[in-house]
């Protein structure tokens, strides 16, 4: 779907918008649609736009096919794989990336828990894992270990920090044993 079409327009003529608006970490961005280098092409994924057009490089691209979870961001409260969503479908959406978790130099409790438990090794999958678990804790503040495992089932962590990640998330949820 290359354009937004306003079917309720009184003229009954579709009105094509040449831009979309995207709120990232609370800041609105107006992005032109087109084929110029600084515009959003219809083929651009949200992951690409976040990284290449807006500079939010904390979001990582691993497989670019929705199979590794590295690019996970939160869109309107839900964890999504940003490599599998086209930017032009995101008009009006609100996105939270890893860069938006820290507020005024204050880390999110999840981030602090990941530091305290050294819940990462190479760190490439970490932003995606943190965003998924943030969405989980927002929806379910007291998850079980199994809830966490299910939430993270699509995240590829090759260093095997899984065990320490689970501990960190349990700690952030105040459920550390």
């Amino acid at each position: 779907m290359p354009t937004d079409i306003d079917w309720n327009s009184s003229t009954r003529e579709p009105i094509e918008k040449s831009y979309i608006t995207l709120t990232v970490n609370g800041e609105p961005h107006r992005l032109g649609i087109g084929s110029q280098q600084d515009e959003i092409a219809p083929s651009h994924t949200l992951a690409y736009t976040l990284r290449e057009s807006l500079g939010f490089t904390g979001t990582k691209i691993g497989c670019d096919h929705g199979a590794c979870g590295a690019c996970t961001v939160i869109m309107d409260g839900e964890a999504v794989q940003s490599c599998s969503i086209l930017t032009i479908e995101c008009d009006g959406k609100s996105i939270l990336t890893i860069e938006g978790l820290e507020v005024n130099g204050q880390l999110h409790p999840l981030q602090q828990a990941f530091i305290d438990h050294t819940a990462f090794q190479c760190g490439f999958c970490t932003p995606g894992i943190i965003m998924s678990t943030k969405a989980l804790l927002d929806a379910n503040p007291s998850p079980t270990e199994d809830d966490i495992k299910q939430e993270l089932a699509g995240h590829f962590c090759r260093c095997i920090s899984h065990y320490l990640v689970i501990k960190a998330v349990m700690a952030a949820a105040g459920r550390e044993r």
């Binding site: 280098q37 990284r51 939010f56 490089t57 904390g58 979001t59 990582k60 691209i61 691993g62 497989c63 670019d64 096919h65 199979a67 590794c68 590295a70 990336t97 890893i98 860069e99 978790l101 820290e102 880390l107 981030q111 990941f114 530091i115 305290d116 438990h117 050294t118 990462f120 090794q121 190479c122 760190g123 490439f124 999958c125 970490t126 932003p127 943190i130 966490i148 495992k149 299910q150 993270l152 089932a153 699509g154 995240h155 590829f156 962590c157 090759r158 260093c159 095997i160 920090s161 899984h162 065990y163 320490l164 990640v165 689970i166």
Partner: protein, 753 residues
């Protein structure tokens, strides 16, 4: 009883923790240089073919395309060891072998241009099996490599490089044996270490002989020596970026470095070459394939009297470093097995699949995973418990071995039997062991079995490291060491060591970025050598600068240097702690102090890892679940318990334990295409399938350095595959001598196909 330290042995936040969990850490694809172009590679659709014609004119005509390189206009660099693979060639040797390189203003334009390169191939017969490849009538990959055999060589290892194991007299050894068994086992499923971040580099030339390279690697220094081996003694500066996983595979980044460097030279612009995950699967390196056919002479008490056989190593279309892998593997075999008579003949063979590179386990995992199952046949025949066998046969004080360089080394480490026993106890081995080929438990269609594997590596002391430590008058210390960060936390660990020596808050110790322009010599983070060799260099530098500090402070405090101690950036008299001066007063506010450290190699303190595994096999479906793992080691002194825990748990992934159950690169043996080259079809363990994982870590002080520690991270996965293979045998009572143990293979062994 270990000494109580301020930081050593305690969990401390990683130095780069905040960058990683806020997304600020700079990985290679997060970097952009002014004027930077994007490189892309065109892979061959044939596993073996001659390029009849190649026309790049349509690609070159595309707006934004700045260079297209083929064998016709590429530099004549050769990759591999010994150098044998032209960077671009008129012959392609595996599906994905790079045919052409494009540099363009954007990655999209470069990708589009690949489709406009017109190539006409003449397909050639291909060979995918190493033993077939050495037959006289097999297709030949390189005119210079008759029989597809890579020559044995020294290549930086020294004139006596260990390229075979020939010790004692095997004929005599077999005569002394109570029993001789023969066996064959293949660990040739060529798994992919598969770091989450695809390989990537940025190359930039400043004049014809001055190259700067940004590299996602575990060893910035290894990239430099590698480039100079390929391109001659050009002036090259290598800067390491945060690396999203390597497990060996990105140690030297030979192919992407050569491609980016060639494109940057052709365009006179910085070029980023960053693989997609598909390119990572298709054109990058994999683990060696390994097959051993051997005879074992054994006595009834478990003494091995002779080992003789051949070790067929499948290197794929080219090999980054196989002579080193053979040398290390041959050394490691002797660490596991105290046997006076050996004759193991390795043969490294090229085949038409992806090249092989460095992967954690480095020759030893491949050799062990093939050899231990054959030894198991002998163990079963004399009915010895494998834990007792490994305890008896792992290298002991008073023993020696020929190591990598072909030099005899006397072992200075501890008797590892204690650690093996402790691991067995935690695992509950004695309660579970029912004998060879017998399940621990059976319930309905489920059969449980246990297994154990062992590995050791003397490369914890390999090669050389240098480090400097600078004290600043404001009470801070800076470690100068060329350490990349790909996950093992080595940058933080050496900061802890320096903080400990200098008795300084850990926050006051920083480390320079990995950059060959700034730092002294560093071999790189391989073979678990960071803790000992690199650690010792940093410790020596910190001790050296502390000595200078005390010499400066002594006259000011009216004392001898030996009377002084330092704490939180002040120097005080040990007998009169009230006599105290800040570093600023001692050093002077416009000076810095620099201490130096250098460590030479020491192969006398090999590490050890034993993995105990319990599996449950469903004999109706053939599905195997890994239930429990106990990883056991003795590291002398833990530097950071959480970091070490992560490294040991890492044994599951990165072409480790799971290569016994699921991980493999599946080739279509009709055409050489990879059938599972993506993140869905290549099987990896998810969060919902985690086995119970325990670590058993002893801390017997080693005569290594001030903190009596050695590294163990690199070897963590190596004992895993053979442990799982043994566990499955014990569960189902049928021996399978290849990996991975997929359900179809298990059902076939059970005659239930």
């Amino acid at each position: 009883m270990t000494k109580e330290y301020r930081y050593i042995g305690k969990a401390t936040p990683r130095k780069d923790a905040r960058d990683i969990i806020t997304g600020r850490a700079q990985y290679i694809d997060d970097m952009k240089l002014p004027g930077m172009l994007y490189g892309k590679v065109l892979g061959s659709p044939y596993s073996h073919a001659r390029i009849k014609s190649i026309d790049t004119s349509r690609a070159m005509a595309q707006p934004g395309v700045k260079a297209v390189l083929t064998y016709k206009n590429a530099p004549d660099w050769k990759l591999g060891m010994p150098p044998h693979k032209p960077v671009l060639d008129s012959t392609v040797r595996f599906v994905g072998d790079v045919v052409a390189l494009v540099a363009a203003d954007t990655a999209d334009i470069a990708r589009g241009a690949l489709r406009l390169i017109d190539v006409e191939y003449e397909p050639l017969p291909a060979v995918y099996d190493a033993e077939t490849a050495i037959q006289p009538d097999s297709p030949q990959l390189y005119p210079d490599l008759p029989g597809n055999l890579l020559p044995r060589g020294t290549y930086g290892i020294g004139p006596k490089a260990l390229q075979e194991i020939v010790i004692g007299d095997v004929a005599k050894g077999f005569e002394e044996a109570d029993l001789i068994v023969e066996g064959e086992c293949a660990y040739d499923n060529i798994p992919n270490p598969l770091p989450p971040e695809p390989p990537g580099v940025i190359a930039s030339w400043d004049g014809p002989d001055k190259l700067t390279l940004w590299t996602a690697s575990q060893s910035a220094g290894a990239n430099k020596s590698n480039i100079q081996n390929i391109m001659g003694r050009i002036d090259v500066r290598v800067i390491g970026t945060q690396c999203g996983g390597s497990y060996g595979s990105k140690n030297a980044n030979q192919m992407p470095v050569a491609y980016a460097t060639a494109l940057a030279r052709a365009t006179n612009r910085p070029v980023k070459l960053y693989y997609t995950k598909e390119e990572h699967f298709d054109t990058f390196s994999l683990r060696l394939g390994s097959r051993i056919r051997a005879s074992i002479g054994i006595k009834k008490d478990g003494t091995v009297t002779a080992v003789a056989g051949e070790w067929i190593i499948d290197t794929g279309a080219s090999s980054e470093v196989v002579p080193w892998q053979v040398a290390v593997g041959c050394g490691e075999a002797q660490l596991m097995l105290r046997c006076p008579n050996w004759n193991i003949q390795p043969r490294a063979v090229c085949t038409n699949r992806n090249p092989s590179g460095v992967v954690r386990g480095f020759g030893g995992q491949e050799l062990k995973s093939s050899l231990i199952p054959i030894l198991s046949i002998a163990m079963e025949k004399i009915d010895i418990d494998p834990v007792e066998f490994f305890k008896k046969n792992f290298v002991k004080p008073g023993d020696g071995y020929y190591w990598r360089d072909g030099v005899w080394v006397e072992f200075r480490g501890p008797d590892y039997s204690k650690a093996i026993e402790k691991g067995a106890e935690v695992f509950g081995w004695k309660d579970k062991w029912r004998g060879w080929g017998k399940p621990t438990a059976a319930c309905g269609t489920k059969r449980r079995g246990i297994g154990v594997g062992i590995h050791g590596n003397a490369d914890v002391g390999e090669d050389e490291s240098e480090a400097w430590v600078r004290l600043d008058p404001d009470g801070r210390a800076v470690v100068f060491a060329n350490i990349s960060e790909s996950g093992p936390s080595q940058r933080s660990s050496v900061c802890k060591m320096a903080a400990e020596v200098l008795n300084l808050p850990l926050e006051s110790v920083d480390i320079t970025p990995p950059d060959t322009l700034v730092n002294p010599f560093e071999f790189g983070l391989v073979g678990s050598r960071g803790t000992y060799i690199l650690g010792a260099a940093v410790i020596e530098a910190a001790e050296d600068v502390k000595r200078q500090l005390f010499e400066l402070a002594a006259p000011l405090l009216g004392a001898g240097p030996e009377d002084l101690e330092t704490e939180d950036a002040s120097v005080y008299h040990k007998a009169h702690p009230e006599k105290r001066l800040s570093w600023r007063r001692v050093i002077g506010k416009t000076r810095t102090c620099i201490g130096r450290g250098r460590t030479e190699h020491d192969f006398s303190l090999p590490n050890m890892m034993t993995i105990f595994a319990e599996v449950e096999v469903d004999i109706e479906t053939g599905k195997t679940d890994l239930l429990r793992v106990v990883a056991t080691t003795d590291c002398g002194q833990i530097i950071d318990p959480l970091v070490l825990q992560g490294q040991l748990q890492g044994s599951i992934g990165s072409a480790g334990i799971d290569t016994a159950l699921a991980e493999e690169t599946i080739l279509d043996n009709r055409n050489g295409h990879i059938l599972n080259g993506n993140m869905i079809d290549y099987k990896w363990r998810t969060f919902v399938d985690l086995p119970e994982f325990q670590t058993v870590i002893l801390e017997t002080p080693f005569p290594s350095h001030r903190f009596h520690a050695i590294g163990v991270g690199e070897i963590a996965p190596a004992p895993g595959p053979s442990a799982v293979l043994m566990a499955v045998y014990n569960a189902i009572g049928q021996r399978i001598m290849s990996y991975p143990l997929t359900p179809d293979k298990i059902l076939k062994a059970l005659d239930k196909e």
